[in-house]
Symmetry: C2
DNA sequence: CTTGACCCTCACATCAATGTCAGGGTTTAT
DNA sequence: ATAAACCCTGACATTGATGTGAGGGTCAAG
């Protein structure tokens, strides 16, 4: 069992962010008598997993929708994941298109 | 000479935005005795020009740096424009790269 | 003179994850 | 017992263009 400082040090994620993930329902540490958060060793992987999905551009809300499942199964077994991926892919493709059209526009002007 | 409502109607840009552009130094209407903003007919082109650059992803601050020049000359004569374009292009290319790497990552996971 | 359509300023809200204080309690080592 | 190093909550700030609302002045047509 570890306290928030250690979890932060182990994962490289700020204490502020770890508390925020909890507020968003992504982490649920137990509380000691003194009010301190207490994390199981497993929380380290959990935080890394959260970071992985944030780096894919997903929101904490989206992650909350399937985190529970992917922590227990392989991602490919969690059917909640794929609609999110599909939507994110569509957003990204649209964004790339927009950026490319702006890019062409800028290049013409140069 | 026209008031802000007419300028808004002619350009399709909200009154709120027109006031904001003024606050950012992009428009400088004269004031009537009653405090109303009064725009020359030329302001219409000016607002459209501002929109054009905003749609290229430039900030009002960047636009402020060269708007005066491009309103009086052809864009290609305003040397202040090109560093901004170059920087924006670099940002866009980096952004596209990032999105494409996320996209590949997502596609692998599907 | 009144009503409706304008105009004004000021200021808060948006979005989302994170930084950063303030003010205060706890624990650990000396 | 004290100091350093933790931990807690709550709250404001960031970013940038725009929406929205309050509270109030102006003007034109009836």
């Amino acid at each position: 069992m570890m306290k928030i400082g250690e979890l932060s040090a182990r994962t490289g994620v700020s204490i502020r962010s770890i508390r925020y993930y909890e507020q968003q329902g992504l982490l649920t540490p137990v509380r000691q008598e003194n009010g301190y958060r207490e994390y199981s060793p497993f929380a380290e992987e959990q935080v890394r997993t959260i970071q992985l999905y944030l780096n894919l551009g997903l929101s904490t809300e989206q992650i909350a929708g399937f985190l529970h499942c992917v922590l227990q199964n392989k991602e490919s077994f969690c059917k909640e994941v794929f609609p999110v991926y599909r939507q994110k892919l569509a957003e990204i493709e649209e964004q790339i298109k927009l950026l490319q059209s702006i890019k062409s526009n800028l290049e013409e002007r140069m």
